[in-house]
């Protein structure tokens, strides 16, 4: 665990939503988050909570079918799911660069599969089952300058969900 990683533990889908909502308080225009995790690990729940934190009123549903769904909030939310894409080139068809430039926040489920066509500046959110079927271990990994500079505030904002057992001694240093 390095200082660009913040490890969380949530105990239900609702607690995953709450943590994501708290993270969304730190969001800025143009932010990019990639969600990584198996089927049923809570990617859509995370996006629902994040949207709530952005002030999106509309129900956020799985974008698997439509690939891209956009919502209006304090900041606009672009919610993508590239589960169905198998070739990186196909991501160009989604109009990614336009979405990233439109002043909203973009969340991409299964986003780790298309990093080749993304700017190297994002927060990677790894979700995985953790023992109890309801529990999730969530690693937030800052890649690039935008999120690396915010690791300390991420840690503060998400204090209730921090996985203490995983916190290493260097984590408190937070220098970038």
């Amino acid at each position: 665990m390095n200082r660009r990683t913040v490890r969380l533990r949530t105990t239900s889908a609702d607690s995953t939503r709450d943590a994501a909502a708290a993270l969304a308080e730190l969001a800025r225009p143009g932010d990019l988050l990639l969600l990584v995790g198996d089927l049923g690990s809570g990617k859509t729940a995370f996006c629902q909570g994040f949207g709530r934190g952005l002030g999106v009123d509309e129900q956020i549903t799985s974008p698997t079918f439509a690939l891209v769904q956009s919502y209006t909030g304090r900041l606009d939310l672009n919610h993508l799911d590239v589960y169905r894409l198998q070739q990186v080139g196909e991501a160009h068809d989604l109009g990614l660069s336009e979405l990233l430039d439109d002043g909203g926040v973009t969340l991409i489920e299964w986003g780790d599969t298309i990093t080749a066509v993304l700017p190297a500046d994002f927060l990677e959110v790894h979700l995985q089952a953790a023992g109890d079927p309801e529990h999730r271990s969530i690693d937030l990994v800052a890649v690039g300058p935008t999120w690396s500079a915010r690791v300390r505030s991420v840690r503060t904002a998400l204090d209730p969900w921090l996985d203490e057992a995983a916190a290493g001694p260097e984590d408190g240093a937070g220098s970038c």
Partner: protein, 346 residues
Amino acid sequence: MNDHAATGAAVDDSTVVLGIETSCDETAVACVRGGREVLSSVVSSQVDLHARYGGVVPEIASRAHNELIIPVLARAMLEAGLDGEDVDAVAATTGPGLIGALLVGVSAAKALALAWDVPFVSVNHLEAHLYAGFLEDPDLQFPMVVLLVSGGHTLLVHVTDHGRYRLLGQTLDDAAGEAFDKVARFLGLGYPGGPAIDSVAMSGDPEAIRFPRSMIDDGLDLSFSGLKTAVVNHVRANPQVATEDVAASFQQAVVDVLVAKARRAAESTGAVALALGGGVAANSLLREQFLGACAEDGLHAFLPSRELCTDNAAMIASTGWYRLRRDGATPLDCGADPNERLAPSS
């Protein structure tokens, strides 16, 4: 949206509408007279193309629509025995769907409307599914509740008249068909997941595993994400479990929820009919239990034929006829909207 009501005057039982549907998997063109009489309905299924990818790939979808639209159109005209001058209006799905795919159909429809000098009519894909019943069931009456279940949508809609409807409930996370697709892929059963699970479930025990029936007693919204997760958790914890039993138990859980919600929606609105629509309406267990529930509750049941379950253009042409009669033509500067919502009742 427009007030070209003048064109509405000429809409009657002899009016032929050509409909085009390209919102997702299917390139489809149909000719329908008077809103109900299907003269031709051609669907060029792209499912084989997509099966290799385990889902709809937008780039492939729009390229394939581009290649298929002219041949499918030509065949629909030929089968209907029509020339361009026999077509009175052209309708196309403008949303929701994949933007690149939608634009192929919308552009073709506008070009035809211009060339033939007839009205263009925009049609909402979800509204069109509500109209599928009128193409096959002359006894279908208002007020009715439609349960629309597909890969992208799970909706309960109260329909009180043509163009008058209200959304009663919808999925809060995954669509029912999406749950079928994802569970089938997880179980290694292939794509599309609905038919794969339907057939494997035939030899499984639907009571073998008690999967959760999320929100079954709670309002008219639905949720299938928790069920999907429960299937994944169960198989991981019990790797030796029979795939047939997982498929059958999963399918039973989905159908129990869908049927319970549809019954409650009909009861709470005082509907006289319940109609099924969308791709998941082809599921054999859902059809059986839906019919049984309607018989018990004294409701007129409508089950679409397999052709009308999946995306098709006959329902687009039919809806286009009703929309043209009510609202007139749609201006040609109307675009496609991938997130188009089901418009609230007027």
